[in-house]
């Protein structure tokens, strides 16, 4: 009997094992990782860099230089060899917590990581919350404007935790291909250094060299950047008679996109954007293939929210002397239709930020704004800030290289939440008061 029981048990176990094996064989293979996974902001990522210790010290010591250093890049189970990193940034350059540009294809022209050629690891040293950039870009995306994807990550260098960073999608040909379905147009980075003379689309003369490579630095077609249409656009901004302004400028620029872009920055109290306090900054200009029409792409929102809750929605448009006004925006907003669009976009930003119902986010015009602004329910902007805060808090507190204290981190997050609670009401009030 015992012998029979043993046989029965053995047969039963074998049956179970074969069934389990069969299920395992039937299970679909895990789906391959994508760039979407890499920029998934629902999780706090971990990136490990393996770099020669001497190189890491040298990169930090010479953080003002753009010298590349080789490294291995590790994310999840992906190990990418033959990768190059360098210090990056303008005002955010740091020898303590360097901002990093990661190039997957510098040493091997054809190497990509999840379809990406490069990525930025932003150090957020100018933003104690670490959240401005990510939240700001989310609002651009919600308004339907192409913007770089972002997520937060812990960064380890040679197994040592070096800080909390933002993973930022590069504005390059990959970005152009995924957002516009083309990559062979002319991409320029607006290149503003701290010592540069502020620029606000003033016409400086017909020579193209007055506009590129400074301040419009070619990112594609570097050898032949063809800045002629750019120079012509800037001349048209100045010289086109008012009645023809929209028609003429539409040959050069997507004016509606420009207005919405600027409205979003205005809602975000951005002090270093198109209407920045020091002239223009932090955007790319992309001229579509085979045309002279360009569009703006947002970049670096670390200075967003810093203008505060009560920053005037007409800041640097009509509240400064004419020589401090942005020539393009001033002329654009003289067009009633575009001025109306500016106010509509601001209103839309305010309503999205205050929306308490996720469904409302997608069609804000149907929502009841009062529901999101009063009562106990929390608006989208505050929800996003809280969610991101919870996600990064521990990593931020443990960040050994951040140039601010843990108390400053907590206080600034609190201020950001207050901004989220109060900005929409302020903006809606200003929109309502503004003549169209």
């Amino acid at each position: 009997m015992r012998y029979q029981l043993r046989i029965a048990a053995f047969v039963g176990l074998m049956a179970l094992a074969s069934a389990a094996a069969g299920r395992a064989q039937d299970a679909p293979p895990p789906s391959p990782l994508t760039a979407g996974d890499f920029f998934d902001d629902q999780v706090l990522h971990t990136i490990r860099l393996i770099i020669n210790p001497r190189d890491w010290q040298e990169l930090k010591a010479n953080f003002q230089l753009n010298t590349y250093y080789p490294c291995h890049f590790i994310w999840r189970n992906q190990v990418v060899r033959n990768v190059a990193i360098r210090s990056r940034g303008t005002g955010s350059r740091s020898g303590t917590k360097p901002g990093l540009r990661v190039d997957f294809n510098l040493f091997d022209e054809y190497q990509q990581f999840l379809g990406l050629k490069s990525v930025v690891l932003r150090n957020n040293v100018q933003d104690p919350t670490n959240l401005h950039e990510r939240i700001g870009m989310q609002l651009f995306t919600k308004l339907g404007l192409p913007a770089p994807r972002e997520a937060h990550t812990r960064v380890y260098v040679n197994d040592e935790y070096v800080g909390l960073y933002s993973i930022v999608e590069s504005i390059d040909k990959v970005f152009l291909a995924t957002r516009y379905g083309q990559e062979n147009g002319y991409l320029y980075e607006y290149d503003y250094d701290v010592d540069d003379q502020p620029y606000r689309f003033e016409y400086k003369g017909p020579e193209t060299s007055l506009y590129s490579p400074k301040p419009f630095k070619p990112v594609t077609h570097e050898i032949d950047p063809n800045p002629r249409p750019l120079a012509e656009m800037i001349r048209a901004i100045k010289e086109t008679p008012r009645p023809e302004f929209v028609n003429v400028m539409s040959r050069y620029l997507d004016l509606r996109q420009l207005v919405i872009h600027t409205a979003i920055e205005s809602f975000l109290s951005e002090i270093d954007g198109v209407l920045g306090e020091w002239g223009m900054n932090n955007y790319y200009l992309y001229r579509f293939e085979g045309t002279t029409v360009s569009t703006l792409i947002p970049w670096d929102k670390s200075e967003a929210f810093k203008g505060g809750v009560t920053r005037n929605i007409w800041r640097n448009i009509d509240d400064v002397p004419s020589w401090l006004q942005n020539v393009l925006m001033t002329r654009t907003l003289l067009v009633p239709e575009l001025r109306g669009l500016y106010l509509d976009a601001l209103q839309r930003c305010a309503e999205i930020a205050a929306a308490t119902d996720e469904a409302v986010d997608h069609d804000i015009m149907d929502a009841d704004p009062s529901g999101g602004l009063v009562g106990e329910r929390v608006g989208w902007l505050e929800r996003e800030i809280r969610r991101a805060y919870e996600q990064i808090r521990e990593a931020a507190l443990e960040d050994p290289a951040k140039p601010y204290s843990n108390e400053e981190f907590e206080e600034d997050v609190q201020r950001l939440i207050e901004f989220a609670r109060e900005r929409s009401a302020f903006v809606l009030n200003e929109v309502e008061r503004s003549p169209r």
Partner: protein, 418 residues
Amino acid sequence: MTMKGGVIATAVLAVLAAGSPSSAQVLSFDERPTVKFGKSVRLDVTARVQGDALERSAEPVSDDGFDLARRRIGVKGAVTPYVEFEVERELGAAETWRDVFVNVRPLRAFQLRAGQFKMPFSLDQLTSATNLDFVYRSRAADMLAPGRSQGVAVHGRLVGRMFGYDVGLFRRDGESARFGTNPGAGQTGAARLTVRPFDGRRARPAGPGPTETKRRSSIRDVEFGINATSGEVAEGRYSLRGRLTSRNTFFAPVFVNGRRLRVGGDVDWQPGPFGIRAEIMRVEDQRIDQGLRGETLAPLRSDGWYISGTWAVAGRRAMKLAEASRAPAGFKGLELASRIEGLAFGSFAESEPALRNPRADHLARIDEQAWTFGVNWTLNRWARLQFNAIREQLHDAANGAPVHAASWTRVVRVQFAM
């Protein structure tokens, strides 16, 4: 050599000259202006101007057009039969001292040279720019051979001209290895041995005829050389680099640390109107602790070689006449030249696929191959015209590396030297 050193050297020469009674000064101009002070002191003034007219097929580069490649002036001479000297300075934007040295020659077999001069490595590098068969030195000699440095060397010839030696110790690596912030190797030893294995043969007393005599004398000109240098390179991105004739870099320096060892061999032969030269060299740079995790990497190997040939169209004797002529020598000085050469950088390690980053264990080999076709026309003893057409192509073994198209460079050089 610092400016100060050059000035001191020039001053010493001036004092020597001033010390001689003026009545003994004799000025002559044969090949170049020469001043003799008595029987024991001689000063030759040397000058060299080379201008290049360039055209390249590759992407537009700024040096298309006409360029004064070299403007050098100097003095050389002797004080007694036992002391020789040479001072030469490059003029223009790249103003710098070139050769500044004293050579003491108690015996032909034992001579001592001190100052700044070319380290004894590479036949092509040791050939004066005035006497090159081509507008540019071989890529190997240009990129891998050390060139000038400051040091002392003993050298001489033994058994007639059968054996030659040149052994020196230098303060640092040669100028070719020092560029930008790259210091090259530190103190470097260099040695070169040459042998003319047939030079010691005695001529047969009764030659069977002119043909046999010529064959016998030609074989006596064959010279073989071997050379090596050794020095320590500090830790850093201090390896040698690879550049095309356009000066576009195709191999940027990688991280090295440790010994830099150069070895090379060459052969030179001028049978009748023909000239044949070949040379091969390798530079091996250690990369101690240079991996991403501090591990030691496979050494960087930089290899170069060339084979060149010339043909004096009107014969060697006519060529020598042209080189000595004061008047226009017509087509006596016409020479055709061709060279094939290679220059490659890489390392071999089985630990990883071939990569192209400065800390890769397995550095993907990148190889430049070039052909040069040239016409040299020696107009007289001072003037020379050279035309070269150079075809260069890169072969990159890195994974996914692009196929590089061949590029052409056409250059005409006008040279005046005395």
